[in-house]
């Protein structure tokens, strides 16, 4: 791609009318998707009725056909295949002008509603989607806390309650997986490594719109009877469940996992091949490491998730018997497949959040990271060890006792690289010039919460204590401390930090502080009381809480009001900022990573001249020159600098 043809392209583009605007766009995608889904549904309904000896349609087959057709026709409608017809079949490369057209040039806000390849558009699409999904998920959480405030059924029957818990769980898991790798991994990461776009821009658009296509599938479960299995979808129950709401869950996982896999491949390739001159592995900003390791981990984890859900659907549609003990299957198969994804996945969530915390901490202490290589080593260690820890979810499954020892060893070993993260963060804060902005507040919150999340993990990893805690509220509180306390706090640190660059406006700091304090206090109160409930033996997933746990749950519910208030404070802050927020300057915080060297809003294709990197972006307080020297002539002299310019003691 080149920017020299800009002027001619602009002149050639016709003024768009309404028809041109709508096709191809998300509107035509939805229309065609719904039509295609309806046709496929009717066809398969007729076919299965005709072939069935009893003359009844196979609801699960119908659901699978409807969802498949929805995704396929949605993508035809949004124009995902146009490029194939235009270029692949006519056997020519797209011209630079056509590339810019697909990247959203000159399309105004419509580019956000199209199959647009520009990585910044995809990043913003991810960000908006993360907001919406978090809102749904948190509303689910408040419904849960409302129902659990007193014993007995208050608002929901068990069927509804189980569905709400399952929906809250899966929506939050999916959202936390993408919350940093999606918005920041797409918008910020390519700029950070000095690239003009992702390695595969069309795959990038595909990964986002697959995520979008999964949302209606997910919401359809409400109309189809819900699913009672919780977010884990354990198999004999998932196969036994007769409503097609369960198929919606399985299909959601399939689409989501494909979307995440595509995004992961794209990010890995981008980091490997598109780093600008001088951006060696030893100079990568820590966010890039975090996101890279996280998506590599997801590449190993998600295939087994896809496989498990395909098996469940086969059990449901074709009456195979992977998981039914009565005909030779085993529920252990599902548990292993699921947790082989399920435990690495929490590190898929945690690694980018830890990286964001390190990134933000270095900027707001005006200090180089306390041991950049040590931290990278720690993150690599976590991702390697986490591949084989899944067995601790099966401590009490009745499997062979000998299996316990290796899983326990591996699970405990992860605390060593995690400890490195704390050393680096604490060391970075130590004697820094701490500027306590809202992003920095969230980093401090993350440190407070992650310590609790990590330490309570030890109780669950050690078998004697796990025996009294497994499957209880203690587990729920523990993983909320890691996923929310570390993950979501890391996301908010990143959001307040990069929002000025991404949107061009500055989130209100006072509202941000209120958001933080409401969230932190509410969060600690809610989940510390749930620790206590779990210790007294409250099981997870209980629609109706038993009287001994009523007090702890009431306290948790009261504190949850603060979290609810924090959510609405945040929403108000975003809307207020979008309407009348102050314009942000190009280098809002005085940071040294490459994205802050660009003007805001970041132009299409980011860099006019690709920068040359000569050092780590964290060399505060050192006599060495800044990280990026955008030189006019790429072939010109490059400052020679050591790869690791830090003063090693």
């Amino acid at each position: 791609m080149s920017s020299t043809t800009d002027t001619t392209t602009v002149a050639a583009v016709k003024r768009p009318n309404l028809i041109n605007s709508l096709f191809p766009s998300v509107v035509s995608g939805i229309v065609l998707g719904v039509v295609g889904a309806a046709v496929a549904g009717v066809l398969v309904n007729r076919m299965t009725t005709a072939f069935s000896p009893k003359g009844v349609p196979n609801d699960d087959a119908v659901a699978a056909a409807v969802y498949t057709a929805w995704v396929l026709f949605f993508f035809i409608g949004i124009g995902a295949f146009n490029g194939i017809f235009k270029w692949a079949f006519s056997r020519r490369e797209p011209t630079p002008a056509e590339e810019l057209q697909v990247a959203g040039k000159g399309q105004g806000l419509w580019r956000y509603f199209r199959f647009t390849t520009d990585h910044k558009v995809v990043g913003m699409q991810y960000l908006a989607t993360v907001f919406v999904l978090f809102f749904f998920g948190s509303m689910g959480a408040f419904m849960i806390r409302l129902e659990q405030s007193r014993p007995g059924a208050i608002f929901f029957n068990p069927q509804t309650y189980n569905t709400i818990v399952g929906m809250h769980g899966i929506i939050m898991i999916a959202t936390t997986i993408i919350m940093i790798s999606g918005p920041f991994g797409n918008f910020i990461l390519p700029i950070m490594i000095g690239a003009r776009d992702m390695a595969f821009p069309r795959l990038n658009a595909l990964s986002y719109w697959l995520l979008f296509a999964a949302i209606p599938v997910f919401l359809s479960t409400l109309a189809l009877g819900g699913f009672p299995t919780g977010w884990t979808g354990y198999a004999p129950l998932a196969v036994q469940e007769l409503t097609p709401g369960m198929d919606a869950y399985c299909f959601l996982i399939l689409i989501f996992a494909v979307s995440t896999t595509i995004a992961a491949v794209n990010i890995v390739t981008t980091v490997m091949v598109l780093r600008t001159r001088g951006m060696t592995w030893g100079r990568l900003p820590i966010l890039v490491w975090g996101v890279l390791l996280s998506v590599i981990l997801s590449l190993t984890a998600f295939p087994s998730f896809i496989v498990s859900q395909i098996m469940v659907m086969m059990d449901r549609i074709f009456n195979t018997s992977f998981f039914l003990a009565a005909s030779g299957g085993s529920n252990w198969l599902y548990e292993h497949l699921f947790w082989f994804m399920g435990h690495p996945e929490v590190y898929v969530i945690a690694l980018p959040a830890m990286a964001v915390a390190a990134e933000v901490a270095a900027v707001f202490t005006r200090k180089s990271l306390f041991g950049y290589r040590l931290l990278v080593g720690g993150l690599v260690g976590i991702s390697v060890l986490s591949v084989v820890v899944w067995g601790h979810h099966l401590y009490t499954s009745g499997s062979e006792n000998a299996l316990v020892a290796p899983y326990m060893l591996d699970t405990e070993l992860i605390s060593i690289p995690t400890g490195v993260f704390f050393l680096v963060l604490v060391g970075t804060l130590w004697r820094g010039r701490i500027w306590l902005t809202v992003p920095m507040l969230f980093v401090c919150g993350l440190l407070v919460n992650f310590v609790i999340g990590g330490i309570t993990g030890v109780y669950l990893a050690d078998l004697p204590t796990d025996e009294i805690l497994h499957g209880g509220m203690f587990v729920t509180a523990h993983f909320h401390f890691t996923l929310v306390g570390a993950g979501v706090f890391g996301f908010f640190a990143g959001l307040y930090y990069w929002f000025p660059k991404m949107v061009g406006k500055r989130l209100d700091p006072l509202l941000g502080q209120i958001h933080f304090w409401l969230f932190e206090i509410g969060f600690l109160g809610t989940f510390i009381s749930l620790f206590q409930a779990g210790l007294q033996g409250e099981p997870r997933w209980a629609a109706d809480i038993a009287p001994p746990f009523a007090t702890a749950n009431l306290i948790a519910s009261l504190f949850a009001i603060l979290i609810a208030a924090s959510v609405f404070t945040f929403i108000y802050n975003v809307i207020y900022t979008l309407v009348r927020g102050e314009r942000a300057v190009a280098d809002e915080w005085g940071a040294k990573t490459l994205e802050w060297t660009l003007p805001t809003p970041v132009p299409l294709e980011n860099f006019e001249e690709l920068p040359v990197v000569t050092s780590l972006p964290y060399d505060y307080g050192s006599p060495l020159p800044g990280p990026a020297t955008p030189v006019a002539d790429i072939t010109g002299a490059i400052t020679q600098a050591p790869i690791q310019p830090q003063v090693e003691d």
Binding site: P158, N162, P228, Y234, P236, L237, S330, T365, R366, K367, F370, G371, L374, T396, G398, N401, V404, M408, E412, S415, I416, G419, V420, V426, L429, W430, R431, G432, R433, I434, W435, L436, C444, L447, V448, V451, I452, I455, V458, Y459, L463, T465, E467, I468, H470, G471, L535, Q536, G537, R540, W541, A543, D544, A546, D619, G621, Q646, V647, E648, D649
Partner: protein, 259 residues
């Protein structure tokens, strides 16, 4: 660690600079001692009631882990809090912080300490685990067959030909070893008696056994399902009464068994 490290930059630090590292370590040590003392004082109110030797052992592990956790957690929090109070600048910083880097000795020391802690946890856990699973069945061990189904438990006492069918409460005798054989008729359930430290999955098509445990306290405890098993999962609980041998015998007879 870092005091000596920035010795070379002494020119930039004011001569009256307090000895931060010594201060923060003292605060940490004092708070850790206070924290551990408080925990030891309140632990008995926080830990669940134990009615078997196994659960007492589990509770003891919980106590020990918490004693270890308090200094670990406080280390991060004290350094964080101290930094935020002492090193905070009002408004945008005009100058950079000192570019500290960890010394190799600090890195190795940190990895070593966390490594030792971690190994201690593994060895402790494995030792306790194999100790409890190796407890051999005594000749008078009571066998209880547990069958889970949506959404109730059925308990059979094969040695007595008795069944809990129709009973809301089951009984086991005090101070006699008991072993549970757990299975499920439909989906996965989780069999848990917290007060006994018993917790094992009820797998369809498989029979899993728990460790042999000995109830030591007469009283009433809850049997709960701890794996989501469908609609009425939360109603799937029952009471287990630990009673004297005589009371147990008469209960067995009332359940259609023979002594």
């Amino acid at each position: 660690m870092s005091e000596a490290n920035i010795g070379g930059n002494a020119g930039s630090a004011s001569p009256a600079e307090p000895r931060h590292l010594r201060r923060v370590l003292i605060i940490w040590a004092v708070l850790s001692v206070i924290g551990i003392a408080i925990w030891l004082a309140v632990a008995q109110f926080i830990l669940p009631q134990a009615a078997s030797s196994l659960d007492s052992a589990d509770n003891f592990t919980f106590l020990v882990l918490t004693v270890l956790s308090i200094p670990v957690g406080l280390f991060v929090w004290v350094f964080l809090g101290y930094s935020l109070i002492v090193f905070r600048v009002r408004g945008r910083p005009t100058e950079d912080g000192v570019p500290l880097q960890p010394r190799p000795s600090l890195q190795i020391g940190w990895l070593g300490i966390t490594g030792v802690l971690c190994l201690f946890l593994v060895i402790w856990g494995l030792f306790a685990f194999y100790q409890e699973t190796s407890a051999a069945s005594a000749s008078n061990t009571l066998t209880v067959q547990v069958t889970a189904q949506q959404w109730q438990w059925t308990f059979n006492y094969p040695q007595y030909g008795a069944s809990s069918a129709g009973a809301q409460v089951i009984e086991v005798p005090v101070n006699r070893p008991v072993e549970f054989y757990v299975t499920s008729k439909d989906v996965l359930h989780g069999f848990s008696i917290l007060a006994f430290g018993v917790r094992v999955d009820a797998n369809p098509g498989e029979v899993t056994t728990t460790a042999v445990i000995t109830p030591t306290q007469i009283g009433s405890y809850a049997v709960r399902c701890v794996e989501l098993c469908g609609l009425f999962h939360s109603d799937m609980w029952e009471a287990v009464n630990v009673v004297s041998a005589d009371a147990f015998n008469s209960w067995i007879i009332s359940q259609g068994g023979h002594v």
